[in-house]
Amino acid sequence: MDRNSRIEVLVDHVKNPRCKGVLDGADVVMPGGSPECGGSVVVYLRGDAKGGIEEVSFTGEGDTISMGATSMILEKVQKEKLTPEEVLAFDYEKFVDDIGREIVGSRTRNATLGLSTLKAAVRKYQREARPALKEKPASFH
């Protein structure tokens, strides 16, 4: 994909954001970023009965890279039904490659704002709200 095509993908995500809006009944509401620098988002996460991810969404404002990339990663989670473990293992560098390293340039922080906030939401979900983990007592050997 050439530079312009990659920019078009991001712009499409900005103009037609996927998974955008407040998620009713969210188990986790996780803010990230700064409106003064690059952008800020709030990621909403609702888990399913098995401790997986049922739905994610985001609100926020920022530049083309941060908003487009946030929409991209949340759409991926939703479409591919990624598990919490898969989200946490998702590599930042790979994500920057997916967006296009040549257009992200030095703005890797903006590009990974959504992913880092999503990971923070998943960690909080696992810590505080995940039903499967809460019900399952720790075992010791």
């Binding site: 803010p31 003064e36 620098c37 690059g38 890279i65 257009i103 340039g105 703005r107 922080r109 906030t117």
Partner: protein
């Protein structure tokens, strides 16, 4: 319609041009229009015809050390953008010209003083339905002599701020109230871009930078600006003033307002700002 700007009563009205003026000078070989944004892709999405892009990170920063580019690289950048020492450079950008004024301030460090800002920035140009293009212009390379960089007049280093404090000199902190109060230390998940301590430099007044701008992106009138910076913050034009923020970008906007629009002769931008001060051992802090 430079009249609109004249009527706002600025000390240096020539530092601003209207969108209409820019539209009339798109092909003027003595003028180079420069877009400088926070949103680094905006230029690719569409820009003013014949405008070139200067990115504050990629173009104006030293790639290794925390400093601006050196004189050789500045001359090279000017040559690549088709700018001569006599070219009138007109800056515009997103976020109320926040980054445009930052780029302008860096140009001034190198003695390129023939600089203007397009009042209202990108948002006003777009709102007026003016022409945008994705065509990246090319200009013949110019001969731009390697300039001397003079950091003394408009840039403050930490030692300058310390001496300023000893004299009880006025400081203006242009960050958000939460940053000023110390409640917000850094952006969540990015502690490396924050500071170990929160608060502000003792005695600094808090005037968030965007208070200088109207809703349409244009600067407020001189009278309105005086009310903010003199009436509320207690500054006066006969004083030496130092402005700061987190890394010196927002405060370059305030530096522009105080220097050009209100005509203060001695304003410096402390670009080390809170990321330096708030991490420094034994630097005095107020909350």
């Amino acid at each position: 319609m430079q009249q609109e700007i004249q009527e706002k009563g600025y000390a240096h009205p020539e530092a601003l041009v209207t969108t209409e003026w820019v539209a009339e000078h798109l092909g003027d070989e003595n003028v180079r229009i420069v877009e400088s944004d926070e949103d680094v892709l905006l230029y690719d999405i569409g820009h003013i015809p014949n405008a070139v892009k200067i990115d504050w990170v990629e173009d104006l920063n030293d790639p290794l050390m925390r400093d601006y580019l050196d004189p050789e690289h500045f001359a090279q950048l000017m040559s690549e953008k088709g700018i001569t020492p006599d070219t009138t450079v007109v800056f515009y950008g997103d976020k109320n010209n926040w980054w445009a004024t930052y780029a302008l301030w860096v140009f001034r460090l190198f003695g390129h003083d023939n600089v203007r800002v397009m009042d209202g920035g990108r948002v006003k140009w777009e709102a007026e339905g003016r022409e945008m293009t994705q065509v990246v212009p090319t200009f013949p390379r110019t001969e731009y002599p390697v300039p001397e960089r003079d950091d003394a007049k408009i840039r403050a280093f930490k030692e300058d701020v310390e001496r300023h404090l000893e004299k009880n000199g006025p400081l203006v902190d242009v960050r958000s109230p939460l940053e000023y109060s110390g409640e917000l230390l850094h952006m969540p998940d990015y502690p490396q871009e924050g500071a170990l301590r929160g608060g502000h430099i003792p005695g600094a007044a808090n005037v968030p930078w965007a208070q200088a701008v109207r809703e349409d992106g244009t600067f407020k009138s001189a009278e309105e600006l005086r009310e903010i910076y003199e009436g509320k913050a207690g500054l006066s034009e006969d004083q030496d003033v130092i402005a700061y923020c987190r890394i010196g970008e927002r405060s370059s906007h305030t530096w522009f307002v105080l220097s050009y629009l209100l005509g203060y002769d001695n304003v410096k931008n402390y670009d080390g700002s809170w990321t330096e001060w708030g991490n420094s051992v034994r630097a005095p802090i107020e909350r």
